[in-house]
Symmetry: D2
Subunit: 252 residues, 4 copies
Amino acid sequence: MKSEICTSDADTIRVRGLDLTTEILGKLDIGQMAFLEIWGRVPTPQEDIVFNSLVVALVEHGLVPSVLAARLTFLGAPDSFQAAVASGLCGLGSVFVGSIEGSAKILQEGIQRIDQGLSIDAYVTEIVGSFKADKRAIPGLGHPIHKEADPRTKKLLAIAAENGFSGRHVELLHALVREAERVNARHLPINVSGAIGAIASELGLDWRVSRGIGLIARTIGLVAHLLEELRNPMARELWLRTEKEAQAGDHS
Amino acid sequence: MKSEICTSDADTIRVRGLDLTTEILGKLDIGQMAFLEIWGRVPTPQEDIVFNSLVVALVEHGLVPSVLAARLTFLGAPDSFQAAVASGLCGLGSVFVGSIEGSAKILQEGIQRIDQGLSIDAYVTEIVGSFKADKRAIPGLGHPIHKEADPRTKKLLAIAAENGFSGRHVELLHALVREAERVNARHLPINVSGAIGAIASELGLDWRVSRGIGLIARTIGLVAHLLEELRNPMARELWLRTEKEAQAGDHS
Amino acid sequence: MKSEICTSDADTIRVRGLDLTTEILGKLDIGQMAFLEIWGRVPTPQEDIVFNSLVVALVEHGLVPSVLAARLTFLGAPDSFQAAVASGLCGLGSVFVGSIEGSAKILQEGIQRIDQGLSIDAYVTEIVGSFKADKRAIPGLGHPIHKEADPRTKKLLAIAAENGFSGRHVELLHALVREAERVNARHLPINVSGAIGAIASELGLDWRVSRGIGLIARTIGLVAHLLEELRNPMARELWLRTEKEAQAGDHS
Amino acid sequence: MKSEICTSDADTIRVRGLDLTTEILGKLDIGQMAFLEIWGRVPTPQEDIVFNSLVVALVEHGLVPSVLAARLTFLGAPDSFQAAVASGLCGLGSVFVGSIEGSAKILQEGIQRIDQGLSIDAYVTEIVGSFKADKRAIPGLGHPIHKEADPRTKKLLAIAAENGFSGRHVELLHALVREAERVNARHLPINVSGAIGAIASELGLDWRVSRGIGLIARTIGLVAHLLEELRNPMARELWLRTEKEAQAGDHS
């Protein structure tokens, strides 16, 4: 059993080879530290900008189900702040933030197969056909609210392009959209998960941990929502109203 | 029911009044976004440096119990990445990162009572006496490994001082240490949770959500450890060895 | 490192010394198995009835916050059923089911101190005074909905009495209620957590794990609610309505 | 929004139409209550025996990863007992207990397609071929420790048969094993998840919540392990040893 991330003794903590006290604290900010921790090295200025934009994009999206779950958990367990945040994170599965993973998987596996000789066209035809056969939405495409275009998508792709991270994964994503729109005969905007999945792939992040970008971001958001819940609570009202409505008519 | 954090419609997402696409993405980094989200406004340059240092300090501290829990969870549920991170966060309770909360509570309640007329001496005497009577460790003081001095503590307090955040909460923490060392007749270093509790209080963060700094930081760390677990796993070995050892002699 | 609960090899699994295949399966039911697992021995018929009644009482109490949290989590992560249940359990803290622990703690520590010579009167006076000074509710007393009397309490105490488990902890609970009602000059019904805390103490369950009775029960309830959520969902409606209401007026 | 499970007012709690105080407490045991809660009706005596056996079989299997995760979480958060249990449940994903779901899905979808005219042979050929192509293990078959035969499997299938629940799903499971052994040319024992998936399907449990049987069972097991952790801890030792070993050689 061996970990390469950190070494510590009574006097020193080193993270990825850098001394936490003398080389990291006050020198690296959160984004650079996260990059160092995950990628194993300090980011270039361009990577820094792009990685920060991915996390920032996902910090907040209103009273989404994971936020409500965390607030309801905090109502029952105000003594376990960490459990309220954990409860919210548990819901970042396949439907919401977890779709980053699905998007990154399709793109990374696609590049691998294209490198082995498959054409882009053949790959996107296969993917779109396979999801259609299973009657499943392609991760990264479409959004329940932002039907026209997710406002964050265009901006993130622009930031990535300006910094040199609009390469083969982004190109493949666009090819995938074109094929999906053709087959389904309707507009399918790239959603924020799709853009993040593609850009994270450009940054070289393994798709199997790409959901982590959303987890880091949403942990920040959950802390803010729990602070608001303390000051201006809504969970109790949400509970009592729901219970009243859902049981109405059963008391007869 | 009302939330002041975010508003969104089909075209726009505003966080704390700023437009995510035109005013946040590419303009604010993760630390500034987190500050905006939690405090409700963009930080000053000094607040920015200090807040970043608090989170950065807690990202990584080796194979701590929460990291091992997350790795073991990932072994059983590789399809639920978010659940592995949540599992790790669940353990950030009173013993480890949660102690930030205990420290911030003592300091914030202390300043409140001192403002009402109590002397600093009277307050620290009361706190140290009360914890001693309950045979409990004072949150923020002492460390199982860093017995002399936590290397991060001094640096964090220096960064805070350089940026104008070494005020009354930090002063109270030092008074508390002096009294605790006097009563217990031994050296009690301020640990990283103590320093963070004090500095977070200087930044005006409500102690009831101060544990959130640790949660944000450790989510970053957990993502990195789960990536390492994918590439160079240890959880299976940890499980099989433990099972073998703990059952030895019971098979007779 | 040593565990006394289970031993297994390629052919046999023994739990608390009994062979799972030949001595447990088909011979012990869930309640007896849980008692064996936790207490280390098969229950007497009386213990069996009383333990079962404690768990059964807590399985279901409507659309409580933990149920809503689990349903909302399931909406985002339908692929992580276990994470939805875990999310619901996270909220069983100090306010709801966790109050069993608070009640059992007061009673078990009380019996210990009474055994050391303190009078019952002195102990309940101390406890009621201490909670009043801290402006905290005494765990196990009072209920937000069942203001007169929790319908489950009387029945549980009767089942315990019929089976010989209405001893010193139950007696102490009644003394505590009398003192609390005297000091607060109002009716304070024993709630279901209070009754369960007392009866679990009669059964010899360490207060530090007494919350476990609620966790076992609510896991059953959460599974049922998630099945209903699959067939007749409410989480999406709950989310969309809440988001709409809480953001109203902010779009200007 | 409507729930059919429970109705309550200030005086009465009804679960699935039965009065908790007068018709459930002291009359139904945990297994019958769980069946009532999940299936919506009291079980027959045969269903009662079979359902109990499924849960009992999964309560305990030694120091599995989920148990270690819960113990490690409890070390950091002894104040959040529920979070330690939740942390353990988070790991019951696709690899361990979650495989019940995979098994039940294959069997329930199979019966549906066979009802639509497909032959059993064609279905099992398709399934085995599909998993082989994906290089994935078929859920419910094979076991890392019990290579010959899982001792619990045979017993559970016998209990099911004796009580009239060895019908088409069990038959299909056996056909699946035969085909998998033929194609892979090696012995593949039905593991406990496979047997439970089949028998739960016989009981009419929707595969999408079948993992719930394991969650109910393991919650019981986790409570017992956390009690043992309080009395005879191992998590601290596990942490310190792992940290020491994994960092060895990095300090140079």
